[in-house]
């Protein structure tokens, strides 16, 4: 090995973000084939998805998407819920460390904050292509706010969250002790905005009194619990992959951190299991519309989604893998997170779609609509979701390289 001339820098005092950004960017340019191949593939998928999305925008969503006036929300809304709740979860779980100062949660904080930003941006991108007039939102959200609308609160709070979290991330990058207080404070504000936003997202569904399947006070609470579970999933998934990329030896602090995350995860999985069970049992003694939706979910067209993906992949397999792993075997925990990610996506799809499948006028024995309506996502919708996932992977990979494995701990 030819000894490279190392510049004699003993203490690199990086003072401004632009400097970090620049050096990081240059670092990104140096690397090996496999890594860049992956980044390239992800970028390509994002590009192809973007072409689909823009095409859909120009041809009109009525033609491009599999949506109808009876089922106007499809997997793009599911995707949005998936991404922003993952973002919320990353924020909630990591804030135990960087806001509330619990030492054992600190090692995961930086990566979580970064990924929380990435996933919320992915969520916004997905909803951008669901909104028919996204640009009007920017104007009328400010000029004509409807304070009784959960959508308004949700969008505004997520916007505020993005702003505060981005600021906090910058402060974390600067690694200045004198900013620690400010950074923690920003973290706290972001956390409050995020929790309020995700519970409002739940209320978007829970407050539709015309929709029995959703209506009720529990969906906002469920969304927070579900967000926390997704956050734990994401932390374990991405931290594990991050360590694979850098091949670093995981130190004890990080191991303890992931163990703690694993335990919280198991707790929230249990909460979700109870929620799902009681939602179903109470639903069956409820109104006829709810019973019809539940039947379709559990035994009809969505039975595979429910039993295999939601219950199997999303809840039981991760839960038992976690128990088997003793919260120590990281390989098992990673496998659990892969299953859980797939399961969670189906949970979001079913939540959104099953809430709309019962025909509005079913109780009148109307022949114009079937009792159970059907929705099939179009290739455009699927590609937008795939693109958003690819974007997250790409941003994650680039982040690992640029921010050097999010190594430095927050003191």
């Amino acid at each position: 090995m030819s000894e490279k001339k190392n510049p004699v820098v003993t203490e690199v005092e990086v003072t401004t973000f632009s400097q970090i950004w620049l050096t990081s960017l240059l670092e990104f340019l140096s690397g090996t084939r496999a890594f860049y191949f992956l980044v390239g593939i992800a970028a390509l998928v994002v590009l192809i998805a973007a072409m689909f999305a823009v095409n859909a925008m120009y041809t009109g969503y009525r033609h491009a998407y599999g949506l109808t006036r009876e089922i106007p929300w499809g997997i793009l809304i599911s995707g949005y819920v998936f991404f922003v709740l993952t973002s919320s979860g990353l924020c909630i779980v990591s804030s135990i460390g960087h806001v509330f100062g619990v030492k054992s949660f600190m090692p995961i904080a930086k990566r979580s904050v970064y990924l929380s930003l990435v996933t919320v941006v992915a969520g916004f991108t997905v909803i951008f292509f669901d909104l028919e007039n996204p640009f009007r939102l920017l104007i009328w959200n400010i000029l004509s706010p409807n304070l009784t609308s959960n959508i308004w609160w949700m969008g505004t709070l997520y916007g505020a969250y993005l702003f505060f979290m981005a600021l906090e991330f910058l402060l974390l990058l600067l690694e200045k002790h004198r900013y620690a207080m400010l950074s923690g404070l920003l973290g706290l504000i972001s956390l409050i905005a995020e929790v309020a936003a995700s519970s409002n997202l739940g209320a978007v569904f829970g407050m539709l009194h015309g929709r029995e399947f959703w209506y009720g006070p529990y969906i906002p609470i469920y969304f927070i619990a579900s967000a926390a579970a997704s956050g734990c999933t994401a932390i374990i998934f991405f931290t594990y992959l991050g360590y694979k990329i850098t091949a670093e030896k995981m130190d004890r602090a990080m191991e303890l951190s992931l163990q703690a995350v694993g335990k919280i995860w198991a707790l929230f999985l249990a909460v979700l299991m109870f929620f799902t069970t009681w939602k179903i049992i109470t639903g069956f003694v409820g109104g006829e519309g709810k019973v019809l939706a539940l039947k379709e979910w559990l035994t009809g067209k969505y039975a595979l989604n429910f039993w295999l993906f939601e219950v199997g992949f999303g809840l039981l397999i991760p839960f038992f893998l976690l128990l088997i792993s003793g919260f120590k075997n990281l390989n098992q925990m990673f496998v659990a997170s892969v299953f859980a990610f797939i399961g969670i996506f189906f949970m979001r799809v079913d939540l959104v779609v099953v809430g709309q499948i019962v025909s509005h006028y079913f109780e009148f024995k109307v022949t114009d609509f079937p009792v159970i309506l059907s929705y099939k996502p179009s290739i455009y919708e699927i590609m937008i979701i795939v693109g958003a996932i690819a974007f997250c992977m790409m941003a994650f990979l680039v982040g690992e390289k640029v921010f050097k494995g999010h190594k430095t701990e927050i003191h």
């Binding site: 509330f100 054992s104 130190d251």
Partner: protein, 116 residues
């Protein structure tokens, strides 16, 4: 023997010393990578950063390791006898003894199970 000293909970408003005896010291982090040989590490995405960011590169226990050039500041105490450790524990309440993040100078960490 030197220990890094920390607390299980660090409130937002007190980022100072975890205990009275702690002194801030610059420590040399060891950068372990799970690759058996330096030769193999050359193919890796992080190689340049690892190579240029450290000195004294070597192979050790089936891993490779170097000492990072960028030092990290940490709160450190020195406890040499068992009696001192007990005294420390009596002063600050229960403590945990952990493997510290890898440093050249310090291998163990004492964590006080209480916020300051």
């Amino acid at each position: 023997m030197k220990f890094i000293v920390s607390r299980t909970r660090v409130p937002l408003w007190s980022k100072g010393k975890p205990c009275d005896e702690a002194v801030e010291e610059e420590l040399t982090p060891l950068d372990y990578r799970m690759v058996p040989s330096i030769q193999e590490a050359k193919k890796k995405i992080w190689f340049k950063e690892w190579w240029e960011g450290g000195v004294n590169h070597r192979e050790e226990n089936g891993m490779i390791v170097c000492e990072k050039k960028q030092k990290e500041k940490n709160w450190v105490i020195e406890i040499n006898t068992h009696e001192d450790l007990i005294k420390f524990q009596e002063k600050y309440g229960e403590i945990m003894n952990l493997d510290s993040p890898p440093y050249k100078e310090v291998k163990k960490e004492i964590r006080i199970l209480r916020a300051k």
